[in-house]
Amino acid sequence: MVYEALDFYDVDSQLTEEEVMVRDMVRDWVEEEVLPKIEDACAEGVFPDEWRVALGEMGVLGAPLEGYGCPGLSYTAYGVICRELERGDSGLRSFASVQGSLAMYPIWDFGSEEQKEKYLPKMASGELIGCFGLTEPDYGSNPGDMVTRAEDKGDHYLLNGAKMWITNGTISDLAVVWAKLDGVIRGFIVETGDEGYSAPEMKGKYSLRASVTSELVFQDCKIPKDRILPGVKGLRGPFSCLNNARFGISWGALGAAQACYNSAKEYALSRTQFDQPIAAYQLIQNKLAWMLREITKGQLLALELGRKKDNGTWIPEHISLAKMNNVDIALEIARMARDMHGANGILDEYCIMRHMANLESVKTYEGTHDIHNLILGRHITGIQSFTRSL
């Protein structure tokens, strides 16, 4: 069965031929290989390794990066890939976001030539998995005050501290870790097997269950000198990565919203009560029309943002707007869809609760909804309101 994604204003007609082919390649793979297995993967709480292999073979990891074996696609194409993956599952899209935007990108932009040659081609092929260590147990929205620190010991760096909520951590081969060296945030590549480094998995999640979430623990972790990312200092480093990931998420959330909309519409047309399909009732139509409205607006926002990313006229606040809006409406659509499915909506027969639970995480990570609001507030007024003191 071919999936028909809601596209009321025919926004996809503005994609290039290449972007359409990439979309169809991922869409077909998700339909045939992911959807039949996603409920089991979630029930077991695993990220199937075959998906890493398939993403590598399709060549979609690190989509917008050029050179070093990377795909070299447009940002819009990257957005399309995220949308098609997340229509499958947000956990699946999280794997690709972290690999491409948070682990490959910093090496690509801030790494040495040796580092790029060593890691990027194998990350593009999926042979090496990366993760991104910024968030700490006590430092989420305020990463600048992180306590993980690196000390220059002459012939190596010594890392101490811990990171939390790290997607891919336990299954990764390398981690791009942000730590303070003499009080300045720098990026370090830590490899699995480095002395003093461990990445235990965080269990007990009700959300993003098909994704591996981990702690990264550094206890006198020794890493060679050549592992520091030479090209960036300060928060600009991690924030550049986050901008790219957030961009992908602004498209990705639409995929989840489209999946929930499709299910709600199908269900409303099939479920009869009081002798008619519930789609004949006004309250149901109102909800479907609201979903259509928000998905359409979100698509236009995402497309325009993709263009700005591709022609360089973007600022981070543009991304904040799209990420915040599209994830927010996607979560609302998932909740509304659950309601429309009635009791059936809580079963794994339908994708609804899974998307709904996932989107709770997507609303929080990569900058919470509230933080993005304040980013826009600061942009509008010129006054930051994150904290009482500067």
Binding site: M21, W29, M58
Partner: protein
């Protein structure tokens, strides 16, 4: 080494609703055009054959400009020789016209083997494979469901169930669904498809000997009926045979 011509037809997505407007299937209402599914299996078989034995593939389609898509999709899988046959004004070509145009393109390609689907998803006729074989003086094995990758044998239907046959070039092989997984394109292939060169060729065909009268929708199904008891089974079976015509 083997040179294979793969015939690909562009058809409306097989899940599309087909509407008849003004005595004709309304193509303008089709939102998604795809490669006819059995042709995809033929292409996969050809790709495996060339991987095993060396050689190359020419993908050929007969259709208007929108049919370039099936060739680009083949290019994304590595096919570099791409031919589209079309002439402005062509409409409702009959079997001889289609077969002669395709046979000419096959001859021009130098291919000694032709792989195609057993029938297209739109017209469902199944005449093209055997018809082209006749024009090329080639053998034809129809409805192949399994094949040896190097082309040494093909499995086709037989009274016993199925039979494994061998045939030497020149030959036309028509495919039904096979056990092969249809390979997906990847980004590298898609980038190459962007640069694909498609040869658009015209073809002189004789006049049509068939008068096209029109399309119609199939008869409306009568409303569903419920029958009581197992005694009604013979009646229902009769209706399935005579009314529904599914038995």
């Amino acid at each position: 080494m083997v040179e294979i011509a793969v015939l690909l037809k562009q058809v409306p997505d097989t899940n599309a609703k087909i509407a008849v407007v003004g005595g004709r299937v309304d193509e303008s209402a089709v939102t998604s055009w795809v490669t006819s599914p059995y042709d995809e299996y033929a292409l996969e078989a050809a790709l495996q054959h060339v991987e095993a034995a060396g050689g190359s593939i020419t993908a050929i389609t007969l259709g208007p400009a929108r049919a370039d898509k099936v060739l680009k999709d083949a290019a994304a899988l590595g096919v570099t020789k791409l031919v589209r046959i079309w002439q402005d004004g062509w409409e409702d070509l009959d079997s001889n016209q289609v077969q002669s145009a395709l046979a000419d393109a096959v001859k021009a390609s130098g291919a000694e083997m032709v792989y195609c689907g057993k029938q297209s998803a739109d017209r469902n006729q199944g005449s093209t494979g055997p018809g082209i074989a006749e024009l090329l003086g080639a053998a034809c094995v129809v409805e192949v469901s399994e094949f040896d990758a190097a082309g040494s044998s093909y499995l086709r239907p037989a009274a016993s169930g199925s039979e494994k046959v061998t045939v030497s070039a020149p030959a036309v092989i028509t495919f039904t669904k096979t056990d092969s997984d249809l390979r997906r394109p990847n980004v590298r292939g898609i980038m190459m498809a962007k640069k694909a060169q498609i040869d658009v060729v015209a073809s002189d065909v004789c006049g049509s000997q068939v008068t096209f009268n029109g399309h119609s929708s199939p008869a409306e199904k009568p409303p569903g009926k419920t029958y009581q008891g197992s005694d009604s089974v013979p009646e229902v079976v009769g209706l399935l045979r005579d009314e529904a015509k599914v038995l």
